[in-house]
Structure formats: structure tokens, C-alpha cells
Amino acid sequence: MSLIEVRDLNVWFTLPGGRELHAVRGVGFDLDAGERFGLVGESGCGKTTTILAMMGLLPPNASVAGEVRLAGTNILAGGEDTVRPHRWTDLAMVFQGAMNALNPVCTVGAQIAEPILLHRESSAAAARKRAGELLELVGIPAGSAARYPHEFSGGMRQRAAIAMALACEPKALLADEPTTALDVMVQAQILDLLVRLSDELGLALVLVTHDLPVVAQICQRAGVMYAGEIVETAAIDDLFHATRHPYTRLLFAATPDLYGDEQVVSIPGAPPRLDEPVTGCPFRPRCDSVIGRCERERPLLRLAGGDGSGAAHAVACHRDDAGGSGAPRAAMGAGGTP
């Protein structure tokens, strides 16, 4: 049994007009201690909603189904009250907009010490000392605990957010596009930091991003999401080199690599509206290898014919059930391999 098991997670949003938007449609994956799992997909595919749903951080007009089992027990069973104790103690989160993820009118140190005081320590001094250590851990001088978020640079603010996430030694860190808002140099430092922390502290990491090279660089396994569900999941090498789902393949083709020797191909059309029912495979309108069944039947995520090289490789595509698979594209350019 792995550290975190997400089973058939569904999220609906009731819109003001009364219509319902099915943002997450039966997502499931497992996460072991120290493992780094990437969740990839275009914006609006439900990846952020998924990790927010795991911590119950949804707005009032949302409704959730499915299970998030932590050491066997489903923390979403009783709604907000059962999930709250697990927040920051078991699952912690780092948000994308580092600029205002920190409270502008409180010092950084105080914001880091706050969860420690809440869940762990009783004395403020101990919490403050721990906050200083955490800042040092993420490469920020402990002295700057007394300064305010607007006095930090983008990178420092994200480091502080990470330090805050580690305040109560969580089992898993859910990172929502942690580096998207940062420039490339700072991005690399943050990613190294995440990898180092994951290895040293055995911290499980779920990295939500639309940036494939980043996933390739630091994740061991990844799942590709489209229109609210995982369409393909595999170990990082299989995903890049033994791509089975047409969307994944097209996604790689749409990502310019460092040396630019490949012709960048954009995927025509747009993801389907999540507030309307979908018949058949959601990717069908944009897929380049449509077969008869795609029209009628919605493909389910099934274990593909594994090539026996380790972690399971699952895909939700009718072509795959038929034994053959779309011609895998040539291996990614040099930048793609870890």
C-alpha cells in the first residue's frame, strides 16, 4: 500500500446559472514516500483542482466524490472537518502566485511559525527558532524572518513558501506550478531545492505543471491529464520514449526543445467545455488517429501491455486496446532525457 492513494476523484462546480461543471472526472494515482510524481496538461484540464481537492481546499460551490486515502484512511470522508487535521501535517502545498500567497501585512517569519504553533510547538520562541532553521534550509538567511513579503524577490518568496510548507514535516508536498512565475535561472534553483528536499527528507512530491522539460527533469513518474481525467501515466522514460496516447505524443511535439531542430507542431482545436456532457473520447475532435470506437465509447484508463521494464504504464485510448499503438515518435531531443 503506497503513502497516498487517490481513487476515482471527481469534482463538480455548480455555476451561478445552475449548470454544473465537471472539472475532475475520476482521477486516480498512487504516491510513495520520496517519490516525485508529475501531473501535466494544458491549463484548464483540472490538474490544480485535483491537488486542491486532495486537501479539501475547494470553494463552497464545489462538490467532491472519490477517495484520497492516507495510510489507509480516506481523509475526504467527512468533508472539511475530517480533512482539516491533515492539512500541513500530512499534506502541504506551494502555490503558483508566490506574490500574494503570503500575507502582505505579516512578517514572513510569523507566517512560517504560525502552522508550527498550531500543530506542533506550544512556545512561540521554539516556533520562531524552527522558522529560522527552515529559512536557512531553503537558502534564506534566518535574519530576514522579520521582513515582509514585499521586501523579498520572486525567488526568495517561493523559497519562503517552500520553507512554510515544510514547517510541520509533511509527508507529501503538492506544488502547483511553483516555478512558472520565475525566470529560468531561479527556476532551476527552486527545482534543485525540491529534489534535494525530496531525497533528504523522503518527502513525496506532486508537481503540477504544463512545463514538460521540468517534469522530465525532476519527476520519476508522471500522469498526463486532459479534460479532467488522466489519459496516460507511466514512468518518465516510458512516457517520453514509449508514448502510447496520441495527446501525449502531440503534447511533446508542441513543446520546443532547446536546440530547436524539430518543427514545432501546435495541436488544433481547444479542450472541450467541461460544463457539457462528452460522448466518446474527449480528445477525439483533436486526435490524429481516430478509430470507430472513439466516437461512441469513452476509453477508460487501463494498464497497457507493459514492456516489463518496471512501473506500470496505463493509457486511456481505444487504439491501445486494439494491441497496436500509434507510431511512437522518435525519441525526444537531448533535452528530454533526465
Binding site: 491533515h86 492539512r87 502566485g97 500575507n103 502582505p104 501585512v105 502552522p115 498550531l118 515582509y148 514585499h150
Partner: protein, 323 residues
């Protein structure tokens, strides 16, 4: 100190505004047709000598500019002249009146702020619920009530239960012993209706502003972070949302001080509260320039001071302002 020049600049602006207030005040009252001497008209056998004596005594015979310079010189010495009507030094009278107005206005305003902020937070947190609609519409209704109408209604409805005029029942102290505690209680009782009227006409604005400011703050990412940290709703609101939502309230209080004073005048008029509003009202009737100028000056200074305090409070509350 952080933003030292910010404070100096704000104080500078405040002083400039007060000076403008003094000048405009002075000439504003000289525009009134008729002077206090004409007001003495129809005093039986007020001999022409008396009228002349009064004109000279109040310096009404000198050209306006000279009067203005005299007025500035006297003001620098803290002497606001003597009231034409009662011949007593204006500063003493006005400070006395201010002493009566301040408790009533402070309690009414603070009450309004507290009630306004509390209902604002509650209805923001319970957005869309019945209690939200109820408290918002009630706030708008009370805010829309003309102060004098509200005062009259309270006078009619609570007239029997609570004292409806004056600041205290003076008899107890004179015709029998009355401990200071009993006297304070008595004043407290007399305070309820005027302060309540002021509270009800003012709190609505604070509720609405606080509600929209809270709604905006609750949409900020750091609220999500706070919730993610496992804080209960109450703690998230108290620790993170309210502090940020309070910023616009500080400026609103400053802006509405002029409105509060207007309300105080009406409330004092209805409940015979012997405050500065009442004094201003009588001064206008008796064409009592020194009292009018003094009263306006005190009101202008108090408004400017409150504005300054609000600026400084805002500056202190929000570290982002470098000043």
C-alpha cells in the same frame, strides 16, 4: 523611522488645510448681512451710545483686513475672542461644549464602527445567505434614514423608558446626595438615546464598505494559503482577512468625520444635548461671530487631526507603503 518624510509631508498638508480653514472661516462669517449690533436692535432704549460701544468693542468698525490680522494675532495667542452673546471667552465655552459632545460622539461612532465591522465580516463570510441579505439591507435602510427622522422615532418609541433630553438630571446632586458613580450612571442613561441615534445612522456605511472589502480579501491567495495551513475559518478571518480588509475602513472613518459632526448637530438638536452642535446652532442664530469661528475652527481641526491619524494608521497598518 520608516517613512519619516511621509509623516512630515502629511502633517504639512494638514497644517496648510487648517490655515485655509481659518481664512475661509473668517471671511465666511463676515459675508453675513447684519452684524451682532443690528442683532441688538429692538433692545428697548439701547441707546446709540451702546450700539457704538459694542461696535468698537467687537472691532466691527475696522476694515475687514485689519480685523483679519487682529484675529490671526489673537488666535496665535490661543484667544478666540469673547462670545458676543454671553461675553465669556469663546475658547472656554467651546471646550466646555466639546467636553459634552466628545463622549456622545465617540460612543456613537465607535459603536457604529464596531457594529459595522462585525456585521460586515459576518455577512461577507455568510455571503448569499439569509443573514447576509438581512444585515446588508438593514444597513442600507438605517444608512438611508434621515438622522432627524430616526431621532424623532426613537424619541417617540423609547421616550417613556429612557431620558430624552439634556445630559443629566441635575436635581439629584443638589437636593440630596448623589455619589459620582450615581451621577455617571445618570449621564450614561441620558447618553443612550443620542448615541444610539448616531450609531444607527452611521453604522450602515461601515457594514457595506467592510463587507465588500472582506469579500475582496477573502478572494486573495494568502487566504487560501492560510486555510491550507489547517487554520479554522474563524482563525483565518481573524488573523489574515480582517487586518487586510480594515485598511479601507481607516480612510472611510476619516472621510466620514465631517458627516459624523453633521449627525451630531442634528442629534443634539433633537435631544437637547448641550454640545458643540447646539452651541453652533445658537451662535448662528445670534450672529455670534467669535463663537461661530471658534466652533468651525475646532471642528475643522478635529476633522484634519482625525484624517491625519487615519493616514498614519493606514501607513502603520500597511507595511507596503514606503512613505
Amino acid at each position: 523611522m520608516r517613512g519619516g518624510d511621509y509623516v512630515i509631508r502629511r502633517v504639512g498638508f494638514a497644517l496648510l488645510t487648517i490655515f485655509v480653514a481659518i481664512t475661509i472661516n473668517f471671511f465666511l462669517f463676515r459675508v453675513l448681512p447684519g452684524t451682532v449690533v443690528t442683532d441688538l436692535a429692538r433692545v428697548p432704549h439701547a441707546t446709540p451710545q451702546l450700539r457704538h460701544a459694542l461696535t468698537v468693542q467687537f472691532g466691527l468698525d475696522k476694515p475687514k483686513w485689519e480685523q483679519y490680522l487682529i484675529y490671526l494675532r489673537e488666535l496665535a495667542r490661543g484667544n478666540m475672542g469673547i462670545s458676543f452673546a454671553t461675553q465669556q471667552p469663546v475658547s472656554q465655552l467651546l471646550l466646555n461644549d466639546l467636553k459634552n459632545t466628545i463622549p456622545m460622539v465617540t460612543i456613537g461612532t465607535l459603536g457604529a464602527i464596531v457594529v459595522g465591522i462585525a456585521t460586515g465580516i459576518l455577512s461577507a463570510w455568510r455571503r448569499g445567505s439569509v443573514s447576509d441579505h438581512l444585515s446588508t439591507n438593514l444597513a442600507i435602510a438605517f444608512y438611508a434614514f434621515p438622522t432627524q427622522f430616526l431621532g424623532l422615532m426613537l424619541l417617540i418609541l423609547l421616550g417613556g423608558l429612557l431620558p430624552t433630553s439634556g445630559m443629566e438630571n441635575p436635581y439629584a446632586g443638589v437636593f440630596g446626595t448623589q455619589s459620582t458613580v450615581a451621577r455617571l450612571q445618570d449621564i450614561g442613561l441620558h447618553l443612550i438615546l443620542p448615541a444610539l441615534t448616531l450609531l444607527l445612522t452611521l453604522y450602515g456605511e461601515f457594514t457595506l464598505i467592510m463587507r465588500s472589502s472582506m469579500l475582496e480579501t477573502l478572494g486573495e491567495d494568502y487566504v487560501l494559503t492560510a486555510r491550507a495551513k489547517g487554520l479554522t475559518d474563524r482563525r483565518v478571518i481573524a488573523r489574515h482577512a480582517v487586518r487586510n480588509a480594515l485598511l479601507p475602513i481607516a480612510t472611510l472613518v476619516a472621510l466620514s468625520i465631517g458627516w459624523i459632526v453633521g449627525g451630531a448637530i442634528l442629534v443634539e438638536y433633537i435631544f437637547s444635548w448641550p454640545g458643540i452642535g447646539q452651541a453652533l446652532w445658537q451662535a448662528i442664530n445670534q450672529r455670534d461671530y467669535p463663537m461661530l469661528q471658534g466652533g468651525f475652527l475646532i471642528l475643522a481641526i478635529s476633522v484634519v487631526v482625525v484624517n491625519l491619524l487615519a493616514d498614519l494608521a493606514y501607513f502603520k497598518l500597511d507595511p507596503r507603503i514606503s512613505g
